[in-house]
């Protein structure tokens, strides 16, 4: 089991900063997910860790060993590629065995390990086939088998499930996660799929524009997002953002805009009074934390006109037209509402997020 430490890592392509001054500690045996939209630099970071890409500056350590300028060969890693890269001219068995052969394992050991991996991934019947004769899912299993058979210090996975169809992807999620728990190998997993990240990762590192936005367990990422990017990227439908101003009424602080007035929660009070000079904030609230008024009258209330309903049957997503813009509300179950009807909704005060308007950072950090 290996710790991976990344310090001040930069990777520039000409002028484009793919990864910019990044620090990240990955614990031994951990399953960490690098999450972000396409082009955010997460794959570049993975390739820098693998040694396929030469870093512009910074250091990569495995435990105490500086790996920064080592070729992939010297790093004792393995990788599952997005389109698998299962060599087309070798049979499945040879694909799995070949990395071992290159590392000069004895014949007996190679046989044992191939048998072990193909049993683990249930691909014994495929060993004699060429990759062209396999389905996408089967090829994916071969790629994973090939990656684990060398017992690497660090296992890298570059969007390994993104080319699978939806059903298979869901099944493979749990399989890969179980496999990693069994092997306890340090795993760095790149994806743009937040559901994958939430379900698989011990911790999640969220990226945008080459910079690390937040690292943490899924609970923290979801409930305490560090900035508006993380808050907006995680969760579906997206969090509602409302521009608000601080107003003092009768010595009490309120967040206000148009016909919305929200008393400032205790947890924010200390932070806001420290920065009493700042008046403009962004209020964030997830659709599932806004309720139709009938259900809880204790929270502050605002009004809106039903613009559109998404009837998912398990949930109902209501798009409201309000004086301060659109508001998306998610209610469990099947709801019957006519369009254009005026309704009242209330905000769960304990679930409100507050961000500085200028930086987008959460005021809690």
């Amino acid at each position: 089991m290996t710790n991976v430490t990344i310090r001040g890592l930069c990777k520039y392509f000409d002028r484009v900063k793919a990864v910019d001054n990044l620090d990240l500690e990955i614990k031994a045996g951990e399953f960490i997910v690098l999450l972000g939209p396409s082009g955010c630099g997460k794959t570049t970071l993975l390739r820098c860790i693998s040694g396929l890409e030469r870093v512009t500056a910074g250091r990569v350590f495995f435990d105490d060993h500086d790996m920064t300028y080592l070729s992939p060969k010297g790093r004792d890693i393995s990788m599952v590629f997005q389109n698998y890269a299962v060599w087309p001219h070798m049979r499945v068995e040879k694909n799995i065995a070949f990395p071992l052969k290159v590392k000069k394992f004895p014949q007996q050991e190679i046989k044992k390990r191939v048998a072990w991996a193909s049993d683990l991934l249930r691909i014994e019947e495929l060993l004699d086939r060429y990759p062209a004769q396999l389905s996408g899912g089967q090829r994916q299993r071969v790629a994973v088998a090939r990656a684990i058979v060398v017992e690497p210090r660090v296992l890298l996975m570059d969007e390994p499930l993104s080319n699978l169809d939806a059903l298979l992807r869901v099944r493979m999620r749990s399989e890969v996660k179980k496999l990693q728990q069994k092997l306890t190998v340090t795993t760095i997993y790149v994806t743009h799929d937040q559901v994958e990240a939430m379900t698989m990762g011990d911790r999640i590192a969220v990226f945008n524009q080459g910079m690390l936005q937040q690292v943490g367990i899924s609970d923290v990422i979801y409930h305490n997002p560090a900035n508006t990017f993380v808050a907006g990227f995680i969760g579906s439908p997206q969090m509602n953002f409302i521009e608000v101003e601080i107003e003092s009424i009768n010595n009490e602080l309120y967040l206000r805009t148009k016909n919305l007035t929200i008393p400032l929660n205790d947890k924010f009070k200390a932070k806001v009074s420290e920065h009493s000079g700042i008046r403009n904030y962004i209020l964030g609230i997830r659709p599932e934390h806004i309720y139709l008024t009938g259900q809880s009258k204790t929270y502050p209330v605002t009004k809106g006109k039903v613009y559109f309903l998404e009837l998912l049957r398990s949930d109902t997503i209501i798009h409201l037209e309000t004086e301060f813009g659109f508001l998306v509300v998610k209610e469990p179950g099947d709801l019957k509402l006519e369009e254009n009807r005026e309704i009242e909704v209330s905000f769960d005060l304990n679930r409100i997020h507050l961000f500085y308007e200028d930086t987008g950072n959460s005021i809690m950090t």
Binding site: C10, T56, A57, T68, Y69
Partner: protein, 281 residues
């Protein structure tokens, strides 16, 4: 930032620097190997005969365009060049008129025997077309096509046609069917949709494949020499007369023949790998 740059330059291993130098050396070798003969023929084409026959003069100092004049206007080079251009033009015309519908069929339809037809087009590239020159001459003599540029152009069309069909098919296939179908949804007939939508989109690629046909026909010498006695194309004319002419005429002739080739390669350089890749596979 300074710190950063220092890190970057410090750590580039020697192996990489050596590789860079090696790359440059190999690139220079390739440049010299392929360019030297072309540079030298250009020098010789303009060199004055006196300089050429002076054995101690490696690089000539006196230049003239006299040979060009003589070659074109006294030795019938001009006529031969016109013949060549006519043959090339007719070859392109014939092969596209006959072949383009077939390319369209290959690129847009699924039908029985498609892969067989495709394979036979490929296989016919392997066939030494030149040997057809002998029976063709006999046939041409009967129907009055011998010693005409039409006869040569038709023979060249045999060589070029399968190639044009395959290359054009792949170029047409690269234009998405969606555009054409969208046009058909909005009321154009299939032929109109092809002419108004697909053809303009495919035009640059088709021009490149026409240039391919140009090169093949412009260069062909065996068939052209055998079929025609008086209306000779440029390569045939040079082929028949070059070795009996003084050296400086040979070089001028070589230069004149090489120029179009070099220019055309320049124009098709973007399509080079894809096009020749297809045409030669």
């Amino acid at each position: 930032m300074e710190n950063l740059i220092a890190l970057k330059t410090n750590r580039i291993p020697w192996a990489l620097k050596i590789r860079g130098v090696l790359t440059i050396l190999v690139a220079i070798f390739i440049g010299v190997w392929f360019l030297t003969p072309l540079v030298l023929i250009t020098i010789s084409a303009f060199a004055s005969p006196r300089d050429y026959y002076q054995i101690e003069k490696v690089i000539p100092t006196h230049f003239t365009v006299e040979h060009f004049h003589a070659l074109f206007f006294e030795l019938e080079g001009w006529q031969a060049m016109l013949n060549s251009l006519k043959v090339v033009g007719l070859t392109i015309l014939f092969s596209f008129t006959v072949g383009l519908p077939a390319s369209y069929a290959l690129s847009r339809y699924k039908f029985r025997g498609k892969s067989f037809l495709k394979l036979s087009m490929l296989a016919s590239r392997m066939f030494p077309v030149m040997i057809l020159a002998i029976p063709l001459l006999i046939i041409y003599m009967k129907i009055g096509l011998s010693d005409t540029i039409y006869g040569v152009a038709l023979a060249h069309t045999i060589m070029v046609l399968p190639l044009i069909i395959l290359v054009s098919a792949s170029i047409l296939a690269s234009v998405s069917v969606d555009y054409e179908e969208a046009a058909m949804i909005f009321g154009l007939s299939r032929i109109h949709a092809f002419l108004k939508i697909t053809l303009p989109l495919a035009l640059p690629g088709l021009v490149a494949s026409a240039i391919l046909a140009f090169i093949i026909s412009w260069n062909e010498v065996f068939i052209a020499t055998i079929l025609n006695l008086t209306n000779r194309t440029l390569p045939a004319h040079i082929f028949r007369s070059a070795m009996d002419s003084p050296d400086y005429f040979k070089f001028t002739a070589g230069f004149i023949m090489s120029i179009p080739a070099v220019i055309f390669i320049f124009f098709v350089r973007k399509h080079l790998v894809t096009m020749w890749g297809i045409s030669l596979k």
